[in-house]
Symmetry: C2
Subunit: 258 residues, 2 copies
């Protein structure tokens, strides 16, 4: 593997879930967001609401709400005498990418400055609350939250799949049982070695009709993510929240209030 300060920063990443009671200075905040802005996909369909002062996940002093934002481009198009004709689904697909590329640059920049970060994935499910609190205009969807601050812990990088289970040459392979077992083993043993779930007493419940045969000696990543995948069975709530943010994914529906 090649290395340099950038690669080291990327490979050292671990989300931080314990923060010090100290506010990053204004220059740090500006640097992080500027670095975010410079991410590619230059339609700039991402924007950021910054909340300060605490009460955020893991005691972080800063909370960035990263939004997929097609509001500004609409204002600009109108100044040029155009309406936005692109359908919401396409708009959203590009806006989510813009926002995510920006967010990830922010994570990398923050960590290079000695700050810790953690994505909070629940923003879409909190959309109505965020829209009201932050006065989001139509066509702005809160994609993810990013808490940030000085870390009060320095967790090790978390396990990842073997490279061969993520990077495929030319074709998506049919995995052999051995490859699958190996990927699962790497993940499970890796997390167990870090006491990841045990340290926080983090174990998702099983349905009533199912026996929980796992203890913290063998409960690890593959069982955890499988249990995670039992929730959000219906898309209705999320579709409703997208709609409340002005995004109608289906066919033939009005898109912009004119």
């Amino acid at each position: 593997m090649h290395s340099n300060p950038v690669i080291e920063t990327l490979l050292r990443h671990a989300s931080v879930r314990k923060f010090r009671d100290r506010m990053p200075d204004e220059e740090m905040i500006a640097t992080v967001v500027r670095a975010g802005q410079q991410a590619p996909f230059a339609m700039q369909l991402g924007s950021v609401i910054l909340q300060r002062g605490g009460g955020f996940a893991w005691g972080a002093p800063l909370n960035f709400i990263i939004c997929a934002d097609a509001h500004r481009i609409r204002l600009i198009a109108r100044q040029r005498g155009w309406d936005i004709e692109t359908c919401d689904l396409s708009l959203l697909l590009f806006a989510i990418q813009d926002a995510a590329y920006m967010a990830q640059n922010m994570v990398v920049a923050a960590e290079s400055l000695g700050l810790g970060t953690c994505y909070i994935g629940s923003a879409p499910m909190l959309a109505p609350k965020i829209v009201a609190e932050c006065h989001l205009p139509p066509k702005v969807f809160p994609l993810v939250m990013l808490v940030m601050g000085y870390p009060a812990e320095s967790p090790p990088p978390r396990p990842r799949y073997p490279l061969s289970f993520t990077l495929f040459e030319e074709r998506y392979p049919s995995f052999s049982q051995e490859q699958l077992d190996e990927a699962m083993r790497v993940m499970d043993e890796g997390y167990l070695a870090q006491d990841y779930y045990k340290a926080d007493g983090l174990k998702l419940p099983v349905p009533e009709d199912r026996e929980d045969r796992y203890t913290f000696d063998d409960y690890s990543w593959t069982e955890h993510i499988s249990r995670k995948m039992q929730w959000a069975k219906s898309p209705e709530k999320l579709l409703e929240h997208l709609r409340a943010c002005g995004f109608e994914l289906g066919v033939g529906t009005p898109r912009w209030e004119r």
Copy 2:
């Protein structure tokens, strides 16, 4: 602004659209994808198909197809005796994020190693072709392509909105006409100063009933993106492609072939 080698790399970013005829070595490719893997959101719902040898956009020697991938997690859950119950829309929203965070880490890692990159946003519209060529299993959606190689040009960083047009304190603001004008001016003058559209003769057509009053002396970013937003009027094709990849965004439809 604070600075360090990471921040410098992020702020120096510009997409490369001209590549040298030289293949990055295996170690570089592995480093870039490993750095991608370490991105947060540890459900690892992103995977990468690597195509080599050219014929790709801008003459790049490498083309990474970055996929939102819920296939592997399904295989793993099955090994643990679970089915995936999470609806496709939620699954896709998380998988796109995983894939995008990974992709952006790859961009940053590649640029730190002296490689150039360019995202190609058309992957979703090429989904049926990619599925067939790359044998994508169900629940794998090609989100974006990333071409990579040694750059044969070193473009300057492209303009971005003023920070105050992207980063908002506590609330999304109502922009004044002055703020909007200023954001548009920064973008348009910035791109004009770089001869960005003129150099490539890049000017999107207007509909027949509309006069094109712009020349390369005043055609710039705000007019360009406004014209971009006249395409993809219907979501039908994209919905069809998502469906072909096994993602049904609506309510009450079967999600996995059992």
